[in-house]
């Protein structure tokens, strides 16, 4: 029997959607304002070359952020994506350059291995019953050490032409990683909004016990979500190796934090239960535009860390405030209903 989900009252859902919509429009407006502002003051922003640089700058973090969205909605977090990213770079490079495997075989083996790492993450989270932060941090530290050790800190290069296409080749005039990001975001966005399996994530994020009681196989869903996240990180890693022309254990360091920031800026609740792919995409674009504004304005790029930290805090604070206002509205509705019931029962008893 299919689990019964999505039976919130229609009014409540539309109220939630309305606040989300306000948030997205606000975020989009701010992004646009920054983009136009930098164009106005410094110029050369809205050129094809700069837009490509802008997009390529955060595309790999963006792909990780897509997977992170699913994890965050389910109430978890995946800190290990950055190390999986670098691991995929190294593995695919080793398979091609040192083992001499053909490109497709190397890619498939790498993706399967990354999926396996995700499965291990998910399994440990489910089996040990500890917060995902701890487990995925363990994986992050372990895998980063492994990356360093198996390469001795050296980078691996010497890829074939065909492989390099995955990083810098163009499809319809757009870089392949960006095409990959757009297609993946569309597919996952539609699935997340409509498919029964992915709708379960919102129930799990809202509360695991009720989710279990309503017949959702919580453990299975969670493991699959971490597999998805690791696979996307692996795919990003493969494309990054092709893009940079080399695999290095230090690539993607702290990318997990950028991915989480994009998800949080995109309006997802880090406690779980809410978030959309559309929001995350807006969050990624926002971070990319802010970064680009720093580069073009030639302000000391050292400030970038400061501002992106402040941005993260402001974004979370704002979404917290809108949530709270929404909560008050819901409370008022509930209070009104209670009053109604109270008066009606009083009428009956009289």
């Amino acid at each position: 029997m299919p689990p019964i989900i999505d039976r919130q009252s229609r009014a409540q859902r539309s109220a939630g959607q309305k606040t989300a919509l306000v948030q997205y429009i606000g975020l989009f407006a701010i992004t646009l304002a920054i983009l136009l502002g930098t164009q106005l003051f410094f110029g050369n922003v809205l050129t094809a070359a700069n837009l490509e640089v802008l997009a390529m700058n955060l595309v790999f973090e963006g792909i990780m952020a897509l997977g992170m969205t699913f994890v965050v909605i389910s109430g978890g977090i995946d800190l290990s994506v950055a190390s999986v990213f670098a691991f995929a770079e190294i593995l695919v490079a080793k398979l091609m350059v040192e083992a001499g495997l053909p490109v497709p075989a190397a890619i498939v083996i790498t993706l399967v291995t990354c999926t396996g790492i995700g499965a291990l993450n998910g399994f440990m989270i489910v089996a040990f019953r500890v917060h995902p932060i701890i487990i995925t941090m363990g994986t992050l530290l372990t895998l980063r050490g492994v990356n360093l050790a198996i390469t001795d800190g050296r980078s691996i290069s010497g890829f074939s032409e065909g492989f390099v296409f995955l990083g810098s080749g163009k499809v319809l005039g757009i870089n392949f990683p960006i095409v990959f990001f757009i297609v993946t975001a569309l597919v996952l966005g539609v699935l997340l909004a409509n498919h029964r399996f992915f709708r379960q994530l919102y129930v799990i994020g809202g509360g695991e016990r009720p989710a279990r009681l309503s017949g959702i196989n919580v453990n299975r869903v969670k493991i699959i979500i971490y597999m998805l996240s690791a696979t996307l990180a692996g795919a990003a890693g493969i494309m990054a190796a092709a893009r940079y022309g080399a695999a290095h254990w230090g690539h993607g360091n702290l990318a997990e934090l950028k991915a989480i920031a994009a998800v949080a800026v995109g309006g997802a609740n880090i406690n779980g239960g809410s978030g959309t792919i559309g929001g995350t995409v807006l969050g990624v674009i926002f971070l990319a535009v802010v970064h680009n504004a720093f580069v073009t304005s030639a302000v000391n790029t050292f400030w970038y860390d400061v501002v992106s930290g402040v941005m993260l805090l402001v974004a979370v604070l704002l979404s917290r405030l809108t949530q709270r206002r929404n909560l008050f509205a819901q409370l008022r509705i509930r209070q009104a209903k209670m009053d109604q019931i109270a008066t009606s029962t009083k009428g009956e008893s009289l």
Binding site: T142, F302, L317
Partner: protein, 331 residues
């Protein structure tokens, strides 16, 4: 041995601290037997212990916030920002004492912002301190433009203090005992005692165990949350002072990745991300264990690059061990 004594011994042996102590002793014995000259030399042990002092202080900071159901990812960055602030002031001729207190003010300001955003605005500690991590590291880099900051004009006692050693003579050989290590051990011991006996601090456990229940029983939860982030900041400041003094340099890249090591050590030592637990002795033993394993890796001619992986593996092993124990006790 009578029965009450056996039960006491049994209770001691079954605690986490005893287990950690045993593991530490086992690692120590293993290394001492396998590499008697290299490991058991005072020079090596001193190096292990000296490197440990900073991690120890940061792990203490992490333990305090873990107790109140928080997390502080900004410890490493605030360490760098504090160190850079002090070094810049001393470079420009500010005397040591005011510079050091300015560093304290910076660290406490970071802690206060963390605490306010967590307690008053109700944002998740993970996100708040993630933002602070980025902001503090960024500010440190902006202030120094990524350069080392040396401070030749500072009074000599400050630069010597971090490297001062007591010379202890036993038989014919001299042993140098680093002063910072002694101070840190004393501070930790004192803090451990206060944490369990001073009502103000022991209430932190109630706050972490159940904020709602603590609130209902009249504890001001907000203030305790903020206080714990301030205490953490003070520990970070202390680490920054020792590090700046020992290296004679302020640097924006100090403490990169230190937050994860500190978190791992605290979790291994028995703190939980869901709050209400954590022990100073446990955290101390956790830091010691990670330090010994790291040192052992190098001495056993292992690839030193694997050292980072061991931290992660130890963390996962500790968590798995807890899970097995929970299943067995039927929790």
């Amino acid at each position: 041995m009578n029965s009450s004594e056996t039960s006491m011994v049994h209770r001691f042996v079954s605690t986490r601290e005893a287990l950690l102590l045993l593991i530490n002793v086992a690692i120590f014995a293993f290394l001492a037997i396998m590499r008697p000259e290299a490991f058991a030399s005072w020079t090596n042990l001193k190096a292990v212990l000296s490197l440990m002092t900073y991690d120890l202080l940061l792990a203490m900071a992490m333990t305090v916030v873990l107790i109140v159901r928080g997390i502080d990812l900004s410890v490493g960055s605030v360490l760098a920002l504090t160190s850079v602030t002090m070094a810049l002031l001393m470079r420009d001729g500010v005397p040591v004492i005011p510079a050091v207190f300015a560093g304290l003010a910076v660290a406490l300001a970071c802690g206060l912002i963390n605490g306010l955003l967590i307690a008053k605005a109700g944002i998740l500690p993970f996100l708040v301190t993630l933002g602070m991590m980025s902001v503090a590291r960024g500010l440190a880099t902006v202030l120094t433009t990524g350069q080392y900051i040396s401070f030749p004009r500072a009074e000599r006692w400050f630069t010597q203090f971090g490297r001062f050693e007591f010379r202890l003579q036993i038989g014919d050989s001299f042993y140098g005992i680093p002063l910072p290590l002694l101070i840190v051990l004393a501070v930790i011991l004192l803090f451990g005692l206060l944490l369990n006996n001073l009502p103000l601090l022991s209430r932190l456990f109630y706050v972490g165990e159940s904020p709602e229940a603590a609130k209902l029983s009249g504890i001001r939860v907000d203030r305790h949350l903020i206080a714990s982030y301030l205490i953490a900041a003070a520990f970070v400041w202390f680490a920054a002072v020792l590090m700046t003094s020992a290296t004679r340099i302020g640097y924006a890249n100090y403490g990169i990745g230190a937050e994860l090591r500190a978190l791992a050590a605290a979790i291994v030592g028995g703190a939980s991300i869901s709050g209400g637990s954590g022990s100073i002795v446990g955290t101390f033993l956790g830091v010691l264990m990670l330090a010994l394993i790291g040192n052992g890796f190098i001495l056993m001619n292992g690839n030193p690059n694997w050292q980072q992986a061991t931290v992660g593996i130890v963390l996962i092993a500790a968590v798995a061990f807890d899970a097995v124990r929970r299943y067995r006790t039927g929790w």
